[in-house]
Amino acid sequence: MFLLAFIAPIILGILFTNYYLGKLQLATPVLSVSIAVGVGIGLSSIIFITLNLIHIPALVIFIAEFAGIAYCWWKHRNLFLFTSATTTPLSSIGKIAAALGITALLATLFIFFADTTKDPHGLYDAWSYWNLRAKFISRAPYDWDNLFQYLYFFHGDYPLLHSGFIARGWLFLQQETVWVPIFTAFIFTFATVALLYAAVAHFAGKTAGIIAALCMLCTPFYMVMGDSQYVDSPAGYFFLITLVLFALADKESERQPYLYLLAGVAAGLSAWTKNEGLLFIAVLYAARITILFFSNRKHLFYELKYISLGLLPILFLIIYFKVMIAPANDLLAEGNESAASKLKDMGRYAFIWGWFKLKIIDFGKWYTNPWWLLVLYALATGFNFATNKRTLFFGLMVIAMMATGYFFIYVTTYIDLTFHLSTSLHRLFFQLLPSFLFIYFVSLKSPEYWLKR
């Protein structure tokens, strides 16, 4: 029954994504669907919150959603179809990886639901921030914008993609079922894995795609993050979509306005998911401008125009929410006065760097240091910097600048440093993990390359 709440958003995502990706005939069904589901949830949240803020009743919003879908079905049926993919047979090593991949997928599906039974409301952040705010919106649909100013202790300033979408689901079903947040977390957790597989397979071959997806599925803490209903997984998912769309655009010889626009939408949705998305947008512009300035200045304004076209409507909503509805952000409100002195304190830098090293080595609760696996894989396949040079430089710049941004948030934080680092650093790294794995695997040759020789 709860699945009814997901029908319109997912179809909306498919229509929107196919409208832009379908023109290129380059996206496989897995790539399209894994982008579509999350984008659909994001857009649905934006439509719901925007119309709700002008006091349009929820029932009218739902009728409008289905009427829009019916109109598209009548007028543009081809948008419901996916580009057919050309399938290449797997190599022997690819078959071994695929067998492990299917086993890992079945095991993690089971783990997801076993953990969910223990904590159907998610872990602390899920019920104390994200789902709590969803309750405010669904229980007081015409008052919540006046009440959020009092939610300082509950991070009322956090963006609304997750809370807005869950509230929409509850109002649609007329029931506050825990299955709406659970299934939302499920979609983002597994769509990230599917997108990573499809994107790496597109650029570096199927076997590489399977191994990249395995890196996610086998990382114990990734599933914990997902079934805890934490919003770091959706943020990482939107970061990944953005980088994948830029990579697709960079691979094409002609200008791809639709991909830039869709990348702008994805970046905007990341900021509608978590405050870190605002940093991501700044980093995205900085990295893209730098890359284009040195490689292709003619494209600079053209690309920025389309990225901004996708991004700005979402950014306006975020700004409206932050200025008119939300309480002040605690890190900004409480940290301003002492930030300057903290920036001069070299001891803080050393302390934070120590934590960064610790969390990188101890990443994801693996039984062994997982980075050796990536080194072994690179030794096996060899690097391939030439083919996707711009994608690699751009992706690495984005990841490095994001990590630097996170570093300085800790330098200036007003919260006890050990507490802040121990409760959040691993989650921030998980936001960057899918993007990092994508860039890493795209920079390597595929195992098929060697088998063909």
Partner: protein
């Protein structure tokens, strides 16, 4: 004896390096799975039967009556058990807010209405006498540790 290295053996060597990668991943998956083997053996008692018996859901059943009692969104001062630790206070405060939304619970603010969440003792005698001496009265005792005080009628 001549050591011959041809292209095919190099390819084999490269592909052999992939096997430890797959082995390590398999081992990690196996180790993670070990925490769930008992659950997988008896899915019904592990996943189906305990549904809805978790701490948060159980905690929330206390708030059904109070939510029916308060009809329009209200700002309410929140007080917990006297002498509780910060961790306990925060957990119970946030849980109360989670189940009482869209009423806003404000920490130790004397609005027109105050909620006492005596989750452990469930003893109304622990309500600070300063309130009762200053014209506050018990608006409703829900007999589960949740007590509403009011300054007005």
């Amino acid at each position: 004896m001549k050591l011959r290295i041809n292209l095919k053996s190099l390819v084999k060597l490269r592909l052999l390096l992939l096997l430890p990668v797959i082995f390590f991943m398999s081992k990690q998956l196996w180790l993670t799975w070990q925490g769930y083997t008992d659950c997988a053996k008896n899915v019904k008692s592990c996943i189906v039967a305990p549904w809805g018996t978790d701490f948060i859901t159980t905690y929330g059943t206390r708030y059904t009556q109070i939510n029916q009692f308060l009809t329009t969104p209200t700002r309410i001062g929140y007080y917990g058990e006297p002498g509780e630790s910060f961790g306990m206070w925060a957990n119970n405060y946030v849980l109360s807010q989670y189940f009482m939304a869209p009423h806003v619970l404000e920490d130790k603010k004397a609005n027109d209405t105050i909620l006492y969440n005596l989750y452990g003792s469930q003893n109304p005698a622990l309500i600070s006498s300063q309130f009762l001496q200053q014209g506050w009265h018990i608006l409703k005792d829900f007999n589960n540790g949740l007590i509403l005080l009011s300054k007005t009628n």
